[in-house]
């Protein structure tokens, strides 16, 4: 009993009873509309909040001393050294304030079977798989460790899986319902030929999507032309109507005299152009090919990566992101030159071999960065709990050669930029969403504690209670 009590004080999670409020998204079309709906939801009115710290890390590498932040309605409304706390404002003080950590590659908060599934397609949506109930403990851990946002994906088993999302660990409305489309080229089991074959299949899928997009564009052009033509035609027909009527009345009379059937003139016009058959999968993928959303591709081995880089050159507008990329060092220059970021999971990839010379292991992040590649650090979407380790992984990367700034960038501003959230989160600036951490010291130092986590202006974790 005694010992038992130590474990049994489980607080009922608020998340359970919180309305998840995932905006509905019928196909891609309404995504934008839903986005607006979320901004609404995100900036829900909350009581004022004053945060004060000896050091505020505005963005990785850039910090100011003795700063206060005023948070209102989910946003940072003021920053200054001498801000006074308004009436009834909650005040939280700490050593350091920085932007909340973002895991760019996670499955936390996602229903497990969907995350594993091999049956998803490009039209499947991570927002359909968010589980606000099943993972309270997992998500609570994230709030404690300062990882307040994750880019989640589904369909780990599928070659090309669905549309990912950026969600908040506190279970509030997603920050982004259309974060990226992800694909996978990791099947070391296969023989080299079929491994390359996989890459080519992916290429042709992308090509198919591109063609579909082109066809749709073409149809829209044709339709415009046709509508103009018809409009003109209708105009002149209306003008000539009186004439035509006269002529016809004449004909009718003649016909009656002749006592024969009246022959109407044959009317012809070109048919309205037909749209290409709607294909939700291609329509969805086309958005990635067109660069509207990033395309995250999980690839480890040099064989696939080389082929991938080759076949994707034609897709100039596609914003590719490499995930995993154990062998990406070999292609660092091209990645840097093409501006392709790499989401590194600084963990040994194969047991034992982990720390062999051939496998960069934890050093990968540092090496890539030194070669001018933008590095993000993600937990690898292996298990929901893994996201909890994000700050540890970033720290370990520093311990193996990555600069502190780069490491912090890799889990804050970096993910925000790559997934089009820089206007909302990732740095600490007036007007941005208040997704912040109040810390007892340097964000990555092992002896640092997260004193408070603020998500969308709400205090979702505070050390000690």
């Amino acid at each position: 009993m005694r010992s038992h009590s130590s474990r049994s004080n489980r607080r009922p999670s608020l998340r359970r009873l919180r309305n998840l409020g995932i905006a509905l998204t019928v196909g891609a079309g309404l995504a934008a509309a839903s986005q607006a709906a979320q901004d609404e939801a995100e900036t829900a009115a909350t009581s004022d909040l004053l945060l004060r710290a000896n050091k505020v890390i505005v963005s990785p590498g850039k910090s100011v001393d003795n700063m206060s932040l005023l948070v209102r309605d989910g946003r940072i409304v003021a920053m200054g050294s001498d801000l006074a706390a308004p009436e009834g404002a909650q005040t939280i003080e700490g050593e350091v304030i920085c932007a909340a950590f973002i895991d760019p590659w996670s499955v936390a908060g996602v229903d497990a079977s969907s995350a594993r599934s091999d049956r998803v397609d490009t039209a499947s949506r991570a927002t359909d798989a968010l589980d606000p109930y099943g993972q309270d403990e997992v998500l609570d851990d994230l709030l404690e460790s300062g990882v307040l946002m994750m880019r989640v994906e589904i369909g780990r088993g599928a070659a090309v899986s669905g549309v990912g999302a950026v969600i908040r660990a506190d279970g509030a409305a997603p920050v982004l319902t259309d974060a990226a489309i992800s694909a996978r080229l990791d099947s070391p089991g296969l023989d080299p030929v079929s491994r390359v074959g996989q890459v080519d299949r992916l290429a042709s899928t992308l090509g198919g999507a591109k063609k579909y997009a082109d066809d749709v564009a073409a149809y829209e052009r044709d339709l415009k032309v046709w509508e103009e033509e018809i409009a003109e035609k209708e105009e002149e027909l209306t003008e000539d109507f009186k004439k035509a009527k006269k002529a016809r009345d004449k004909k009718v009379k003649e016909a009656e005299e002749e006592g024969e059937e009246l022959k109407e003139k044959k009317y012809k016009e070109d048919k309205r152009p037909r749209p290409p058959k709607f294909d939700p999968k291609k329509a969805s993928l086309a958005r990635a090919v067109g660069g509207e959303v990033p395309m995250v591709i999980h690839v480890e081995e040099a064989l696939e990566l080389r082929e991938l880089l080759r076949v994707t050159r034609p897709f100039t507008r596609m914003r590719m992101v490499i995930a995993g990329g154990r062998s990406s060092l070999l292609f660092a220059d091209e990645l840097a030159e093409r501006g392709i970021p790499v989401i590194v999971t600084p963990a040994p990839s194969s047991p034992g071999g982990a720390v062999g010379e051939m496998d960069p292991g934890f050093a990968l992040a540092g090496e890539l960065a030194s070669r001018g590649v933008e590095v993000l650090i993600g937990s690898g979407a292996t298990s929901p709990v893994a996201s909890r380790d994000l700050p540890l992984l970033a720290a370990a990367a520093v311990g193996h050669g990555l600069d502190r700034e780069a490491a912090l960038h890799a889990i804050t501003a970096g993910p925000a930029r790559v997934f089009d959230l820089q206007s909302k989160v990732g740095t600490v600036r007036r007007g941005l969403h208040a997704d912040l951490l109040v810390l007892s010291g340097d964000p990555l130092s092992s002896s640092t504690r997260v004193l408070a986590s603020i998500s969308g202006g709400k205090v979702v974790h505070q050390a000690g209670n």
């Binding site: 599934s117 949506r125 798989a129 606000p132 109930y133 403990e137 369909g155 027909l237």
Partner: protein, 480 residues
């Protein structure tokens, strides 16, 4: 050995006899039921009450002293017994040959084509005093066929029918082989298809009309006749202008039921296995405008979504009373008595009976009382609330003037552990008498008729050695 062969046949014969006699029973018959207590569910119970049934409908209910029994009525007098309206089963995927199709989306199907009137389930329902049953397809589906409300009596589906096309079963929980994401996608897809199909139809119609107009102009004809006028198809999620142009008859009959759902003309019963399914369910309903005509059928775990459900205003059907979950931190099991949650949240709920003949609706209601729900509310959950869900408020679930002539005579209080159903009067006909029920003995000593669950593999799995459900209360019929 021989007896076990012959008895079922005899038994079957017996029921056939009963059935046909009732089927033949002329509806003009007058019946009066006198009972020691009459539970009307419209007010206080009536000591020595009388129920008069004429032409299959209740014409009078009241104290023996007040109600005039017609001289020519057949009187069933049971001073020792309790008269009860009979239970209403809001949802059952039983009495049909197979609960689900392999098709993902098949709203054009109708259970009326698969109901088996001599299925043991209906006989058992009668024995349990369940006189109104909404037969629906199973939960292993995306959009299943349309259900039908029946009474557990009659030799043909027509005789059993109470209300056809009572609603379409839709599942927010993944069909076999699907995941939460792909299920939601399939659901969305089903309604997107309908929308695009209709839009295309409208477009084609419009093109045709425009062409005719121009042709007429060209040929110098006056165009006679006006394009049809009416309202566009509008639901909370989307609208289709020019919908009125489509003659109803031209809509593909396979798609027609979905259209009726969007129009709010065809109710939906939405199955949810987990609370997150509830969110999915409400999303698709909201998007396609059938929230107000949707009833949620819920597995126990869904209690966590009660606040969300409260907002939606949906009624619920509870499959299973108790939720057992393991606290991931302490490893302890945490039990939640589900109906209490919904009761306290003020959400109207109906209960469902399980496959266990000892866990029928009376038992479900009794457990609610045991767990602190007022008796009246517990009884409502197996009578008036399901009646409301099925749109049969005036007909079943209560003993009142104008209601269907159904009366169940219990040996004691319906919720008493020792009470049994002694007589059933259905539409005024005396269709069940326990003293003549050969099967009661058979249920004990085991000679079971064909078509009973006992020769399926189902309960070979029934736990004899502890590998079964954590709690009998927690039985939910999941995949139909």
């Amino acid at each position: 050995m021989k007896s076990s062969l012959t008895q079922p046949l005899l038994a079957l014969g017996a029921t056939l006899l009963l059935a046909s006699s009732a089927a033949a029973a002329p509806q003009v018959d007058k019946t009066a039921v006198k009972a020691g207590t009459v539970i009307t569910l419209t007010g206080e119970a009536i000591p020595d009450g009388v129920i008069v049934i004429e032409g299959g409908r209740v014409t009078a209910v009241g104290a023996a002293s007040e109600v005039q029994i017609p001289w020519d009525a057949t009187v069933i007098d049971q001073p020792g017994m309790v008269a009860f309206p009979g239970f209403v089963e809001a949802h059952a995927a039983r009495g049909i040959d197979r609960p689900n199709e392999t098709l993902d989306v098949a709203p054009f199907l109708d259970v009326k084509d698969s109901i088996d009137p001599v299925n043991f389930y209906f006989e058992e329902a009668l024995r349990q005093g369940i006189l109104t049953i909404n037969v629906q397809q199973g939960n292993d589906t995306v959009v299943a066929g349309q259900g039908m409300v029946v009474k557990p009596f009659g030799m043909t589906v027509e005789q059993m029918m109470v209300k056809p096309r009572s609603g379409v079963k839709i599942s927010a929980a993944p069909k076999r082989g699907k995941t939460r994401a792909t299920q939601a996608q399939a659901l969305r897809g089903a309604f997107d298809d309908l929308r695009m199909y209709l839009e295309e139809m409208v477009q084609r119609k419009k093109d045709g009309d425009d062409f005719d107009r121009r042709e007429a102009l060209y040929q110098g004809r006056e165009l006679e006749g006006e394009a049809a006028k009416g309202k566009p198809l509008a639901c909370s999620g989307w609208t289709i202008d020019g919908f009125e142009r489509i003659p109803r008859g031209e809509v593909d009959e396979k798609r027609e039921p979905l259209l009726r759902i969007v129009e709010g003309k065809l109710p939906v019963i939405m199955w949810c296995a987990t609370p997150m399914d509830v969110h999915a369910a409400l999303r698709v309903a909201e998007a396609n405008g059938f929230t107000s005509t949707m009833t949620l059928a819920l597995a126990p775990a869904c209690w966590k979504a009660a606040p969300k459900i409260k907002e939606s205003g949906c009624h619920v059907i509870l499959a299973g009373l108790e939720d057992n979950e393991l606290d991931p931190i302490t490893g302890e099991s945490v039990e939640t008595f589900v109906p209490k949650v919904f009761h306290d949240a003020g959400i109207p709920f109906a209960l469902m009976s399980t496959g266990d003949s000892n866990r029928s609706l009376w038992y479900q209601a009794a457990r609610c009382v045991a767990n602190g729900i007022p008796r009246a509310d517990a009884l409502a959950a197996v009578t008036t609330t399901p009646a409301k869900i099925l749109g049969l408020t005036d007909r079943v679930g209560k003993l009142a003037k104008g209601a269907d002539g159904h009366v169940v005579l219990f040996s004691g209080d319906p919720l008493d552990i020792t009470s049994v159903v002694e007589h059933v009067i259905l539409d005024g006909a005396h269709v069940y008498d326990r003293s003549k029920d050969v099967r009661v003995k058979q249920l004990f000593d085991g000679t079971r008729p064909p078509g009973t669950a006992s020769d399926t593999s189902a309960e070979e799995e029934w736990p004899g050695d502890g590998d079964g459900p954590e709690d009998d209360d927690d039985e939910t019929e999941n995949k139909g």
